[in-house]
């Protein structure tokens, strides 16, 4: 990450925190790219005993992307919000890609067995979760965000509470109910499909 792009991300983040919606559109692809790149790096330097942690990934993306001297705490929270969202998008994009590939579209792309490695089932389930989460967002934005941060961003209850500016107890309560809701939603959809 060059200094200039770090400056740019920091500026966009500040702009967005100040209410400039257009800044978010420019920011997202940058965060997305960085997370994507980092995920690769992580895979390659994996060592025994270390598994890929999405939270670590998000943290590192933040450190690399943002000039921390210029941002305030709230900016960090915003960043984690975007990062979790981006992680969700990255995973869901991949998962949807997988899902369609299995249905025939991308079958030819798979060159060797290894290219087919990703769990098709997990992919289907990520897609299902994504759909349910979008439905939840329409009813309760905060609960949806909490799941996004906890599951896709890998943030702890306390971290999530910090980012959202609510108490850990609230996050815990929301999380419990959101889980039950999502679980029911996904089961319902499953049943309807079959």
């Amino acid at each position: 990450m060059t200094v200039s792009s770090q400056d740019e991300v920091t500026r966009l983040l500040l702009d967005w925190s100040d209410g400039n919606k257009a800044a978010l559109d420019k920011l997202m692809p940058l965060v997305y790219d960085e997370l994507h790149k980092l995920a690769h790096l992580y895979m390659n330097r994996e060592r025994p005993g270390h598994t890929l942690q999405t939270s670590a990934l998000v943290n590192e993306a933040f450190v690399r992307l943002v000039d921390q001297r210029s941002v305030r705490w709230q900016n960090r929270a915003h960043f984690f919000g975007i990062a979790s969202q981006m992680m969700r998008r990255i995973l869901v994009d991949y998962a949807r890609g997988r899902h369609y590939a299995k249905r025939g579209g991308g079958a030819k792309k798979a060159s060797l067995d290894e290219a087919m490695i990703v769990s098709e089932a997990r992919a289907a389930e990520v897609v299902a979760l994504d759909d349910a989460l979008s439905a939840l967002a329409e009813i309760d934005q905060r609960k949806s965000q909490i799941v996004e941060m906890r599951f896709f961003g890998g943030l702890s209850i306390d971290e999530t509470a910090e980012v959202l500016g609510v108490s850990p107890g609230t996050v815990m309560r929301d999380w419990t109910l959101a889980k039950a809701w999502l679980h029911r939603e996904i089961s319902k959809r499953e049943q309807n499909e079959s």
Binding site: H36, A39, H40, Y42, M43, N44, E46, R47, P48, G49, T51, L52, Q53, T54, S55, M87, I90, L91, Y94, A95, K102, R103, K108, A110, S111, L112, D113, E114, A115, M116, I117, V118, S119, E120, A121, R122, A123, A124, E125, V126, L129, R150, F151, F152, G153, G154, R173, D174, T176, L177, K179, A180, W181, H183, R184, I186, S187, E190, Q191, S194
Partner: protein
């Protein structure tokens, strides 16, 4: 609503309903909503609790390009990236030492973290590769680069079966051919005790020339979590489905036992291959679904749609084969891959002969949809045909089960961690138990150098043993020994002991052949232990055992070239046409005969089986390298020797119950052969303590013979024209079905270097190529470069079996002997550059040697005589002066005489015989340096090789040394 939910959660579960009806008042919809969320909450448990970390790992790390073109990994230079994914990246690379192209696969770090798993994987991958089977991808190396492990295999041009299936239609004929070749690969692997465990179209490579290669033996071991409690279906499902990296592609081809997380054996591969074959023919997998849970449910419960629904012209026999290969209960499946292979081959032949195969393309799914339009109308394009036609009851059961399993899928990391934790605890206690129990004691009973053929306790007290042994290079003789004394006395009988009845009547084999440390093909006779004259009972007997009451005998004998098991004598219970039947033992109740069924003559791989008096057979074990067996003292197990690898001094005693439950027994190191058990728990066991196949060479100008053996099983093949290099092959151990070819200096001044796989046959006149036989199936002559270059397969023509081969002096042609389909053996000339094959002898006649000027052949005719025949095919002249049993082994440099070996195996003399007048001169009085344990002198050409100038030579002999032990406390 939120508050209600949490308030209700705080209530005791039993009080929640009352609580809700109280607080909701009359608002039924609110109450229902909260109740359903509470139910859902209970089910959710670990749902999405673990962050999507493993998902991220799986999903994102799609193409981590670590190695760039031109980068060097050890001796390998990366040329191109062939593919990548969660199982690592595969590169095309150049082996800079050998100048050949290889495929290099980097294993991702998370697959190689567990050193034990990695080691098991390495063992299996190497073992499979060592099989040197044309249908198994050769592993050249397993290495390490930093923390990452990599596998180097032969590079295969072509595409995977998956690619083939997606890009083109597969005809029934092709489908059968692919499946048959996979059975060949699996057959060889299973024989060596290796199950693939992950047979799927991605692991099957198709070369443009039609050769099929099976990839990734052993890799499945790296990626699977072993199950612990096979009875708990739900939890094993969870484990199987939640393991990171487990793929849909793999699940589709899983056997039911695999899907349940049970231990798998070779029969699992049979199921998986069945799925692959089905998919090739139908264009879709037999058990399909959109999630892992669906597929697993289908594998466990659904019957596949008959292939007829995909193509009306699928023969009924194939349906039957599919049914048997895809049987959910592995006991009802094909029991060995060989059985499946036989059926597939028969089917292929039958179809071919009926010309049924023309124009029956296998159907792709789009055609299928048209075929079964009536069915598919009611379901979406994504639905699977299998489900629509399945029993409606299955459908209901499934949709219920499916929901549950879907949720289970989310219990990700937790489940795997629990499995590992439980496993560690169990292994810890297992270790503890082993440490505290006493080890069996071994007491040496024989001290002389030689081979122990068999040993039995003498009833009634078992304080005396009788054993057969060939000590000090002498023939087999029977000895008796009181256990309290180290001395053995000879019974003055030349034969082997097979059984002793409760009344002290011995069943012995007289005048038998010493065949690899066992006594075979003798005259069965009975004689009391206390002495007397043997009374002969039957000829051509290989094995014998008394019934428990000592009134009847079970025997194995050869009748019409077939091994048959009779009990009592005259009542055939089992026949084995192609292979042989090993050690037989009647059960203590007399109702069963246990025996070892060896499907291939000359190989020790075998199945432990029992047959009852109604001729019902049961396979109990397929452990490789199986020899002697004996009923356990309690009679509820069969103890046998398995996994015998002489060269490594390995050999395990194993036990199997009649229901097939296997375990390995607690023993010491050493290749062990169990001979007998006594009712008090003691056993007689012999331990291999030396021997093998040795090469002795004499190099011109040196003082004495040197032992050039590399490992313990080396066989000489040829000496280079300049007399400096020795070509040989090495089996590593007798249970390996395939050897490697090596070169080393004849004076022994360097370590051998391996030039390829196969049985070495001859070096080219310029020393640049070696012909080797890769035994297949199908067998194949190959040219192995002695320096840089790649192995070249010689076109096989219609030759079904190859024997030996040698070069013409011009280096452009080879002479080989083989059998073409529908013909008897004869010799052929093959042009190396064009591959053209022409017969050079009449059928039945074999050409052995090419004269130095390349114009004459030394031939053997069915009349038993040797001739010199011009290559132009004019009349052959008999060689005069040869005695019966003498074999010409080398032409002299001037082409005027031949070296001939005498007929004796243990004291070979070599003569030089002039072709003009038959005059003979003793060239060498050949004496094998150590006659003890000597089993044979290699008789094949190359077994004794002399340079044309007569100044250097090499020979190969086989020996086995073992000692007998009394073992107490064997469990």
């Amino acid at each position: 609503m939120d508050d209600l939910f949490h308030a209700a959660l705080e209530q005791e579960p039993s009080g929640r309903a009352a609580f809700l009806s109280r607080v909701c008042g009359g608002d039924e919809s609110l109450r229902e909503e909260v109740e359903s969320l509470l139910t859902s909450h209970q089910q959710a448990e670990s749902f999405i609790e673990a962050p999507a970390a493993d998902l991220a790992a799986d999903l994102i790390a799609e193409k981590p390009t670590i190695l760039a073109e031109g980068q060097v990994v050890g001796p390998y230079k990366i040329v191109d990236l062939l593919g990548a994914g969660g199982m690592g990246e595969v590169y095309l690379a150049q082996d800079t030492r050998l100048g050949r192209r290889v495929a290099l696969k980097m294993l991702p770090a998370h697959f190689s973290q567990d050193p034990e798993r990695l080691q098991r994987f390495e063992q299996e991958a190497r073992a499979a590769s060592m099989l040197n089977h044309p249908n198994i991808v050769t592993v050249h190396e397993i290495g390490q680069l930093g923390d990452a492990h990599f596998i180097v295999t032969e590079f295969i041009e072509g595409q995977t079966l998956r690619q083939q299936m997606t890009s083109a239609k597969i005809r029934l004929r092709e489908a059968l051919d692919v499946a048959i070749q996979v059975t060949a690969a699996l057959g060889a692997a299973h024989k060596a005790g290796i199950a693939h465990r992950d047979i799927k179209p991605e692991n099957i490579m198709l070369r443009p020339d039609g050769l099929v290669k099976v990839l990734d033996f052993g890799l499945a071991k790296l990626t699977r979590v072993q199950s612990l409690d096979p009875d708990d279906e739900a939890s094993t499902l969870a484990r199987v489905t939640t393991e990171a990296g487990l793929v849909m592609g793999t699940v589709t081809y899983m056997s039911p036992e695999q899907a349940r997380g049970l231990a798998v054996d070779s029969r699992s591969d049979i199921f998986s291959l069945g799925v692959v074959l089905y998919e090739m023919v139908a264009g879709r997998a037999p058990f399909d679904g959109t999630t892992v849970s669906d597929v697993i449910a289908a594998i466990l419960k659904e019957e596949p749609v008959p292939l007829k629904q995909y193509s009306r012209r699928v023969p009924a026999e194939l349906e039957w084969v599919m049914k048997k290969a895809l049987a959910k209960d592995r006991e009802e499946r094909y029991q060995t891959i060989r059985e499946l292979q036989i059926d597939l081959k028969r089917l292929a032949q039958e179809l071919q002969s009926q010309a049924k195969l023309e124009d029956i393309p296998s159907r792709r799914s789009d055609e299928v949809m048209q075929d079964s339009a009536a069915q598919t109308d009611s379901v979406g394009a994504d639905s699977n045909v299998a489900r629509t036609s399945a029993d409606p009851r299955t459908l209901i059961i499934e949709s219920e089960g499916r929901k549950r399993r879907f949720i289970l899928n989310w219990m990700t990391i937790g489940a795997a961690v629990v499995v590992i934790a439980v496993f560690s605890v169990v292994s810890f206690f297992a270790g503890l138990r082993q440490a505290t129990s006493s080890r069996p004691s071994f007491r040496q009973l024989t001290f002389r150098r030689g081979t122990i053929t068999s040993a039995r306790f003498v009833p009634p007290d078992g304080q005396t043993v009788v054993y057969g042994a060939a000590f000090g290079g002498r023939p087999i003789e029977l000895f008796t020994s009181r256990l309290e004394s180290p001395e053995s006395g000879s019974l003055k009988l030349h034969g082997d002991i097979k059984s002793i009845s409760p009344t002290g009547e011995m069943a012995i084999l007289l005048d038998c052949e010493l065949d690899w440390g066992e006594c075979h093909n003798g005259t069965l006779a009975r004689v009391p232990v206390v002495g007397g004259t043997p009374r002969e009972i039957a000829d051509n007997v290989y094995e014998a055992d008394w019934s428990p009451d000592g009134k009847e005998l079970a025997i194995v004998r050869v009748v019409d070239e077939k091994y048959q098991l009779e009990y009592p004598i005259g009542n055939i219970l089992y026949t084995r046409p192609l292979g042989w039947i090993g050690s037989i033992r009647v059960s203590p109740k007399g109702d069963l005969v246990a025996f070892i069924d060896h499907p291939v003559l000359g190989q020790i791989e075998g199945l432990v089986m029992v047959v009852d008096l109604t001729r019902q057979t049961r396979v109990l074990s397929e452990t490789p390298g199986t020899r002697n067996l004996s009923w356990s003292p309690t009679g509820d197990e069969i103890w046998y020797s398995a996994e015998i690898l002489h060269a490594r001094g390995q050999g395990k005693l194993r036990a199997v119950t009649l229901s097939g439950r296997e375990r390995s027994m607690q023993t010491e190191e050493g290749a062990l052969f169990i001979h007998d058990t006594f009712r008090d728990g003691r056993a007689l066991v012999s331990k291999v303590q030396g021997g093998g196949s040795r090469m002795m060479a004499f190099s011109a100008g040196s003082q004495k013979e040197v032992d050039l053996s590399w490992f313990n099983w080396s066989t000489s093949a040829d000496i280079s024209a300049d007399g400096k290099m020795l070509l040989f092959y090495e089996w590593h151990s007798p249970s390996h079905t395939t050897p490697y070819t090596y070169l080393r200096k004849l004076d022994g001044s360097n370590d051998p270097f391996r030039i390829g796989q196969g049985k070495a046959l001859a070096l080219s006149p310029d020393g640049k190529w070696a012909i080797a036989l890769q035994e297949g199936p199908p067998p194949q002559l190959v040219l192995l470069p002695t320096g840089a270059g790649e192995q070249q397969a010689l076109p096989r023509g219609n030759i079904a079996e190859f024997y030996y081969a040698t070069w013409f002096p011009d280096g452009n042609r080879i002479l080989f002997t083989g059998i073409a389909e529908g013909h008897s053996q004869r010799s052929y000339i093959q042009d190396v550059s064009s591959g053209q094959i022409n017969p050079i002898t009449d059928e039945g006649v074999i050409a052995l040697l090419v004269s130095p000027e390349g114009k004459r052949l030394l031939t053997w005719a069915p009349d038993g005589r040797y001739y010199v025949a011009p290559t132009t095919g004019t009349a052959a002249t008999p060689i005069s002066g040869l005695d019966l049993g003498e074999v010409p082994i080398q032409w002299t440099a001037d082409g005027r005489a031949v070296y001939v070996r005498g007929p004796d195996d243990s004291d070979v003399q070599i003569y030089r015989i002039e072709l003009t007048d038959g005059r003979r001169k003793l060239w060498k009085d050949h004496i094998v340096p150590d006659p003890v344990g000597l089993m044979d002198l290699e008789v094949k050409p190359g077994g004794i090789k002399i340079t044309p100038d007569g100044r250097s030579y090499v020979y190969t002999y086989w020996s086995k040394l073992d000692r007998l032990f009394l073992v107490e406390g064997l469990k």
